[in-house]
């Protein structure tokens, strides 16, 4: 494919570079106030992530994690306006505790008097906390290096990467299914989370065997699955990536666990939780920034969720909202330190097959995304909305999806199942789906080289039309503010006011002297240096920043 061969994206749409630049500039302007919000606030989950990165694991007898117990105790006594670190490490030193876990146990029993230390005590607390976080970051860095070593030891699969899902609810059932899927050709395994986890304000603990339409995201489940896939990667001579979900109320914590346990990709959208889960917008944006800083450090590729808009809004009428959201995700992602090669922007093949020229419209949209984000590992999602239960028609639609993905050089193909919406995939559904993509790849994988939509033709005009609509919408968002635009129902047709939704009570404005030892390690300028030193793993193109820079 063109991307692998030359590292460049074939331009087919004659997009106006000035319009593209304007779109990015508008996204930056719309996003800046949100970044300011995130820099001046914290959340309970950000603070708990700090404790997790410092190594605090485990849960009390009721299954409530110690990070929750400790941060709740601190919040009750001193508040979290100064961050959890200062009062926690101050108490740790003052009480002579040998670990955060011991401190958390006593704190949960109400035996610890927290305070905001000053002077030399504050200095000591800062030094101790920073040391603990440096240790946590070193673990993340070591996992990143381990990923690179594993890829060197096995091999990087060619693109597009084939993305398959397992979702049994039981990690010990997931593992053999994931290994089987990898043997059948999957390059990426996503373990669907148990439904409802996004609304839990804590991360469950341990290996779990009961879930609903998915398996709980826990640190132990992450570890078990990564170890199993390492084994399978060695067996196959190809690195099999693992994906989970840094979304919902515990986004920063799950991102941290993903970094510690070497997950490779994480679903991490800037607005998904707001729109589809009614999580408070401020909470989401603050959590999102911290989680992306962690992903940047850990070399994790994020996947964004724009495909979801097309399941609620009309995929033709709302095509430009996908572009707008991608531009916002790109801005927020890069601001948080993610490299282009880590931005797995999402989109989907969801146009009603009854619409005339639907395939041409899909080609136009997919190619537009490809050209707007030439260095991003785009994630392309198969049809779901028009999978009717007629599995035969669905199989055909999936073949067209695969064809569109190959013709427009998409990077990650989530493989469509003909039984979409009927039941969790049968073994045979998965096998047939892979047979479908193999056929299309073998038969038409090189079609992209011959795909040149004529200048002024339907595809070029449609792509430019969508880009134009996106710019107009971005101007509107810039004028009214992103939070207001979300409140107005701009995305996914749902209205989400800035003070509505779940989790607002977990948002805290930082006081003067706020201290977050993780943020100090993650925030620029440290991050700026880091960004150029460390290309996204798994993306050979990102290893040559000069080339990336030269392209635009």
């Amino acid at each position: 494919m063109t991307m692998e061969a030359g590292g460049t994206v074939t331009r087919r749409l004659n997009l106006d570079p000035a319009t593209v630049r304007e779109a990015r500039e508008l996204a930056r302007l719309a996003g800046q106030p949100i970044v300011e919000l995130a820099r001046t606030h914290t959340t309970v989950s950000v603070e708990r992530a700090v404790l997790r990165l410092a190594g605090l694991e485990g849960a009390d007898e009721d299954g409530l994690p110690w990070v929750n117990r400790l941060s709740d105790a601190v919040r009750e006594s001193t508040g979290l306006e100064h961050g959890v670190a200062l009062p926690a490490w101050d108490a740790l030193l003052a009480g002579g505790y040998d670990s955060l876990a011991a401190l958390a146990r006593d704190a949960a029993r109400g035996k610890v008097a927290f305070r905001i230390p000053t002077g030399a005590d504050a200095y000591s607390a800062r030094v101790a906390a920073s040391g603990a976080l440096q240790h946590g970051m070193a673990r993340i860095d070591a996992q990143r290096a381990a990923r690179e070593a594993m890829i060197a030891e096995t091999a990087e699969p060619p693109r597009p990467w084939i993305y398959l899902i397992v979702a049994t609810g039981d990690i010990y059932e997931d593992i053999p299914q994931a290994q089987a899927a990898a043997r059948e050709g999957a390059d990426i395994i996503a373990v669907i989370r148990s439904t409802g986890q996004s609304l839990l304000d804590y991360v469950p603990e341990g290996a779990t065997r009961e879930g609903f339409a998915g398996t709980y995201a826990t640190q132990e489940n992450f570890r078990l699955m990564r170890a199993a896939l390492d084994e399978t990667s060695r067996e196959l001579g190809r690195y099999v990536r693992l994906t989970n979900y840094a979304s919902g109320l515990c986004m920063p914590e799950i991102a941290s666990l993903a970094g510690l346990e070497r997950l490779d990709m994480m679903l991490n959208d800037c607005m998904y939780g707001i729109i589809f889960r009614d999580i408070n917008p401020r909470r989401t944006f603050i959590d999102q920034r911290f989680s992306r800083q962690i992903h940047a450090r850990a070399g994790i590729i994020i996947n964004t969720g724009e495909d979801n808009y097309l399941t609620t809004a009309d995929p033709v009428d709302a095509a430009h909202t996908v572009i707008v959201s991608q531009l916002m995700n790109e801005y927020f992602g890069k601001e948080a330190g993610l490299a282009d090669g880590q931005l797995g922007l999402g989109h989907a093949f969801e146009i009603d097959p009854a619409v005339p020229d639907s395939f041409l419209l899909e080609l136009a949209h997919a190619q537009l995304v490809r050209e707007l984000f030439p260095d991003a590992p785009l994630k392309y999602m198969p049809p779901t909305k028009h999978m009717t239960g007629n599995v035969f028609a669905g199989y055909l639609l999936d073949a067209f999806f695969n064809l569109c993905g190959l013709m427009t050089d998409q990077s990650i193909l989530l493989i469509g199942m003909m039984t979409e919406g009927i039941h969790t995939p049968f073994l045979s559904d998965r096998d047939l789906a892979l047979e479908n993509v193999r056929y299309v790849r073998d038969a038409a994988g090189k079609l992209g080289e011959n795909f040149r939509p004529p200048p002024g033709g339907f595809i070029e005009l449609r792509a430019n039309e969508v880009l134009g609509e996106a710019v107009r919408l971005l101007r509107r968002i810039g004028a009214e503010g992103l939070l207001n635009a979300i409140a107005d129902g701009t995305f996914g047709i749902t209205r989400r006011p800035a003070d509505g939704g779940r989790g607002l009570d977990g948002v805290i404005e930082q006081a003067g002297g706020y201290f977050n030892p993780a943020a100090e390690l993650l925030d620029p300028p440290v991050l700026g240096d880091f960004d150029t030193e460390r290309p996204a793993d798994g993306d050979p193109r990102a290893a040559a920043p000069v080339e990336t820079g030269a392209r635009q």
């Binding site: 609903f212 979409e420 049968f426 073994l427 096998d431 749902t494």
Partner: protein, 307 residues
């Protein structure tokens, strides 16, 4: 005459021809294994009433499984006089039809207030009905342009629910009850109905839902409608317009999607755990057929026992 007794139609009346595909947990590697797998497929087909049957396709899937496609003639007869159709008191409508009915019937948005009351913290059910995300491939009530949803979340005090419903001008109140210890779901529902009745005239439509309700108990509990396991947002929306918008002469035609695939168990309504938002986020593959998940949970329990 169209008879009362029919058979499937392949290419000739009464030929009884059907197709079937399935996977057997046996290998399809060596010639002996292949022959055995095809024989096994034929045996299954025969036991299912397919005679004669033909394995038109068999393929190994990994080292341990064989996928088979079988065509055959069923010996069974279908007696149409014995077909019973479960009747709903309301037609299933598409979201567009629901919106239209509200616009023409109410001339304003229909207001729905949802909550889990009492100590019930399992918002899974109410969220599956209300959140845009929905479940089983159906979007929740928030998706309907003409419905305004106020989701109060979990552990809502009944007094607060009554007050908030009044303040919001609720047309309908949806309450999910998952916890059933000591019949809490029944007593909570009665208390809620009493509180609304005590609050005076203009009581909103009261709808409760949960996995352990007997749907015939609505009158006894003092509510208007009970929804059980397997309810989809579209059913609830269709019921709301049926109950709340003035009936128009020609009732809207039932939606072809109404009985579509995936009308799965609502809410993964398991009293023991948080559940059902469907696969998170972007990955919507097989959008949470919770009944399938139930099956797999059972399977895994069995597997666990086997270990």
């Amino acid at each position: 005459m169209t008879g009362q007794i029919i058979r499937p139609y392949g290419d000739t009346t009464g030929d009884g021809r059907v197709q079937l595909s399935f996977t057997l947990p046996i290998p399809f590697g060596t010639p002996a294994e292949r022959a055995r797998a095809e024989g096994a497929a034929l045996q299954l087909a025969a036991k299912m009433g397919l005679a004669p049957a033909m394995v038109v396709h068999a393929k190994g899937m990994g080292p341990d499984f064989t996928f088979c496609i079988v065509y055959g003639r069923v010996s069974h007869l279908v007696d149409l006089s014995e077909v019973t159709v479960l009747e709903r008191e309301f037609p299933l409508l598409s979201s567009a039809e629901v919106n239209l009915r509200i616009r023409s019937g109410l001339g304003r948005k229909l207001v729905v207030v949802g909550a889990c009351i009492g100590t019930d913290a399992h918002t899974v059910g109410i969220d599956a009905i209300l959140n845009v995300k929905g479940h089983s491939g159906e979007k929740g009530l928030e998706y309907y342009r003409e419905i305004r949803v106020v989701n109060l979340g979990s552990q809502v005090d009944i007094g607060d629910l009554v007050a908030r419903s009044k303040a919001e001008g609720a047309d309908a109140v949806l309450v999910s009850q998952v916890v059933t210890q000591r019949d809490a779901h029944l007593s909570n529902s009665r208390k809620m109905a009493d509180a609304f009745t005590a609050a005076g005239p203009g009581r909103p439509l009261l709808v409760v839902g949960g996995p352990r309700f007997d749907q015939g108990m609505a009158a006894e509990l003092g509510v208007d409608r009970i929804f059980g396991k397997g309810t989809t947002p579209g059913e609830v929306a269709s019921y709301l317009v049926h109950a709340l918008t003035p009936a128009r002469a020609p009732a809207a035609t039932p939606s072809p999607n109404g009985n579509g695939p995936g009308s799965a168990d609502l809410e993964g309504l398991n009293p023991d755990g948080p559940a059902a938002d469907g696969p998170e986020s972007a990955d919507r593959v097989s959008a949470a057929d919770v009944s399938a998940a139930d099956v797999s949970a059972e399977t895994s329990r069995a597997a666990q026992a086997a270990r």
